[in-house]
Amino acid sequence: MNLAYRDIRHNLFRFLLTGLGLGLLLGVVLAMIGIYRGLVVEALAVARSPAVDLWVVEANTRGPFAEASRIPGDTREAIARIAGVTAAGSVTYQTVETEHMGGKIRLYVIGFESTRPGGPPVIVEGRGIGRSHAEAVVDASAGVALGATLRLGRDDFTVVGLTQHQVATGGDPTVFITLRDAQKLQFDLAPPAARIQLARGFADAGRDTINAVVARVSPNTTPDHVAATVHRWKHLAAITQEGQELILTQSLVDRARRQIGLFTSLLMAVSAVIIALIIYTMTMEKLKQIATLKLIGAPDRTIVAMIVQQALALGAIGFSLGAALILNVKDVFPRRVVLEVDNIAALGAVVVLVCLVSSALGVRAALRVDPASALGG
């Protein structure tokens, strides 16, 4: 006879209510894990989108994301000629703020060369950029509809395609435009400033500048080998894709990652204390019944099993409700909440462990009950 099941059945509403409370707490834990994972995924999204092996940037910088990097526009041709490089593309990155539908939105503008690496990885709606000017592919999270007009700098762009989950490390949606448009947006001076530059004799200087060259290498060589070749040019530095991702996760999101990690650990500790208190209270309420069970001959293992099974059932109910809640509302969060099966399974395993440890307090109290206390009023 399963005593834990019968006790739960008898106090089902109370048990479910307790499970719901625990579920909300575990839901928050799961949300924090998802936010943390989302932070990492978002941080890497822009670096991963060109699907390249090597980033060539300005010497002595860790650009283009962690530090500013400016290199000549013709660098791409030099890189493309290196043995082992199969494709190379020039890219620019900048953050702009613009107005749309009466409100301001921050966008991360990526300039790339059509037919070369650096463009949007997947278009989920519409098409890629087909014209050399005034067309844009925008991430869906910007809330800009296909066919809408977006003003960037002094030019209007027509949105011809939408991407998904392409955001910058700060969560700003990306906008892909042609390299020429991006250079104009980034390096063109305002007319008064241009006039001053012209008067100083620097007419149209420095327009053909890019932030990085991205390159794919042949399977017959390694990115490190190509990087070593690039390092011979003193004005350039080369970072492998692996290195770029390391920079992004360690430099840009490391503090946020640690902050969220610490907060998640605290929440888990709070959950453990709450589970322990609930199980302990449930056990203390049953001391007379436990004494009676002992007196009529129930072995300790029957009583321990009842407490541990209830702790596990509480954890399972709480975890299921929490997981269901977060999986249903995660898309409402302003930034990505990424929950993989392994994250959920890992938290499930932790909850089982916490329930087992937490039930120890209740088990200890139950084992100390004197069967003689069942006698008398």
């Binding site: 006879m1 007196l295 009529i296 072995p299 003689a372 069942a374 006698l375």
Partner: protein
């Protein structure tokens, strides 16, 4: 019912003493208490609060170690000198002793049937067998119509009958009752006493009850009066 010559007692308490604490804080709860209870007998342990009744019941129920003396249950010496001779007292209680409590102590999250069947299953019975036997006992104690009821929905008398059914589940030959009628009115107390007598006679069991309930005193075969841990048999 007087004991027949040649019949062995089901419970034999021989010169049992029990003290708590040592030195100035020492309290002698039982002093050289000896009693014998025979099959079919229903006996009462009487005495004021603190006289040692419950201590004696706990010793006979194998849940309290005596300080000295010996205890025989159903022909087997289970305690002698200063130690238990049986290693598994839980199993001994499960097989040989049934308990009836003042407030019935039914497990509140089990139905009447499950409360009775639990004891049988703890002793190793299959679930179906335990359920059948539980139904038989509840019918025998005339609460068969309440077999699916939860304890909270039973009247005091019904709950006590279910508790008696639970005490009888493993056919123990020794039944210990702690104030079994204290929570019942006169009419229901009389019914419970009649039931206990019927069980003692039909199942050849010995019933030892601690009671203060004067309205049922004349229904016991023997009454043992305890005062300050010393026994004064009052037939």
């Amino acid at each position: 019912m007087p004991a027949s010559p040649g019949i062995a007692p089901l419970v034999k308490v021989d010169r049992v003493s029990k003290h708590f604490g040592e030195g100035e804080t020492r309290v002698d709860a039982l002093r050289d208490v000896s009693i014998e209870v025979f099959p079919g007998q229903v006996v009462a342990l009487l005495g004021p609060s603190g006289s040692g009744k419950t201590t004696l019941l706990n010793v006979i129920g194998c849940i309290l170690d005596p300080s000295s003396g010996s205890l025989d249950l159903d022909g087997e010496t289970v305690f002698r000198g200063h130690r238990w001779l049986r290693a598994d007292l839980r199993r001994l209680r499960l097989d040989k002793i049934g308990f009836i409590f003042q407030f019935h102590n039914l497990i509140p999250f089990l139905t009447a049937t499950e409360n009775v069947a639990l004891v049988l299953q703890l002793a190793g019975a299959e679930a179906d067998t335990a359920r059948r036997r539980a139904h038989e006992l509840l019918d025998y104690l005339e609460v068969g119509h309440r077999k699916s009821a939860m304890p909270a929905n039973l009247s005091g008398g019904e709950a006590q009958r279910v508790a008696i059914a639970r005490a009888l589940a493993n056919r123990p030959r020794i039944i210990l009752a702690d104030e079994p009628t204290a929570a019942l009115d006169s009419q229901r107390a009389a019914i419970v006493m009649d039931l206990m007598r019927r069980v003692a006679v039909e199942q050849d069991a010995a019933i030892i009850a601690v009671t203060h309930d004067e309205k049922i005193l004349d229904r016991f075969d023997r009454r043992f009066q305890l005062r300050d841990g010393v026994l004064a048999d009052s037939p």
